[in-house]
Amino acid sequence: MRISTIFGRRAAVRRELEASRELLYRMAYAWCHDAALAEDLAHEAAEKALRRAGQLRDAEKLRAWLLRILANCVRDHARLRREHVELGVVEDIVAADGPTPEEAQASAQLALRVRRAVGELPLGQRQAVTLVDLEGCSYAEVGEILEIPIGTVMSRVCRARQALRERLASFASEALGARLRSVK
């Protein structure tokens, strides 16, 4: 193999890892709402994935495979700590870097409020709905990732949405209205 090919591949792999890093971190954060813990879980999942690379038979299913490893890490973590990952406080406000301060603020507030509502869901529902909404996973994929039947995926997503809707009903129209006004 020519040396330039090796370097080219190394660069490509680096890029792929960057991509997986974002994916795993974002999903870990959506599940545990703790930036430090999310970073650790994402890292642990990537490490495990690399160690088990040989087990992956179907490259097309890589995303589901990685996320399943992450889900297992979350489960192990909860077991070790002898507690549910039913995290509490949603930290921080997103940095105000929107086009206008008002818009950024309204948008950050909405994000925060939605995260809070998501954080109040049972872990199973939280995982299912964020996999579908954030990553665009199919129900079949979610079933593989969380190792549950597809019917369970369907009902978890549905119940999660009902709960979110109830919790966000009042806020949604108000916040969206404000956001639209500020955008003009």
Binding site: L17, A35, E39, E60, T130, D133, E141
Partner: protein
């Protein structure tokens, strides 16, 4: 049983997530035709989905106080990855694994103008079906504006595109030669863009004619057995679906 309960909450969610097969999808779509409450409900679910996506679009920056040096950790992973690169699974279509349905129809099931505009650049498909079923002046005007915009931007980007407007229910007015509010504009569009085609729903036509109405369609309009037939046929052919 009321209309509302014919489509369960689970089915509604699955509809919004693009997880129904063509037959189920057509069934829900059919109920939506005649049930404004259901349409509104589905709209709310879509909004909720967008809100969740938005809420995590920019997760908080990774903590700087993590137990171990994460940056160094990721670097070592990158090095370790090189070892596995030889096994061949990195080079593959990494994040391209899309939803279970084929990408075009999965996309199609949640298609609206907003989504289309956002995703247009990254979409491979060059066939867009615009489904018009509302008779409101606003909706019809907007549909034409969007179609015109789409055709113009495709031209500007030298991207060949085929657009088909499928009209049924109250949306049929758009294609009527005798309800002339839009006739001149559509004719001009068709002259400029031969890749725009018009399809009317045969069932809607039949119902109107049975009710004693005279309906003359714009020249060049094709009549399909029904709008749903046409839509399902196009979805199977990989067309992008947008509900106007």
């Amino acid at each position: 049983m009321s209309e509302e309960h014919k489509v369960s909450d689970e089915l509604r969610s699955a509809f919004v997530d693009g997880q129904l097969d063509a037959a189920e999808w057509a069934r829900v779509a059919q109920f939506m035709e005649g049930d404004p409450a259901l349409r509104e409900d589905v709209g709310e679910l879509r909004m909720l989905k967008d809100m969740v996506r938005h809420a995590y679009a920019v997760p908080p920056a990774r903590a700087s106080h993590i137990r171990r040096s994460a940056a160094a950790g990721w670097k070592s992973l990158a090095v370790a990855a090189v070892v596995f690169a030889a096994a061949g699974w990195f080079g593959h279509a990494w994040w391209r694994a899309g939803p279970a349905l084929d990408p075009a129809s999965a996309y199609a099931l949640r298609g609206d103008w907003h989504a289309l505009r956002g995703d247009w650049r990254s979409l491979d498909g060059n066939h867009v079906l615009v489904h018009v079923s509302s008779g409101s002046r606003e909706a019809l005007t907007m549909a034409l504006d969007e179609v015109e915009d789409l055709l113009r931007s495709a031209h500007a980007a030298r991207r060949s595109v085929e657009v088909e407007i499928v009209a049924n229910s109250l949306g049929l007015d758009l294609l009527r030669a005798d309800a002339s509010a839009y006739a001149a504009r559509i004719a001009a569009l068709r002259r400029e863009f031969p890749e725009l085609s018009l399809v009317a729903c045969g069932q809607t036509l039949e119902r109107r004619r049975a009710g004693g109405g005279q309906v003359t369609l714009l020249p060049g309009t094709v009549v399909a057995p029904s709008a749903l037939d046409q839509i399902v046929k196009r979805l199977r052919g990989g067309w992008i679906y947008v509900r106007a």
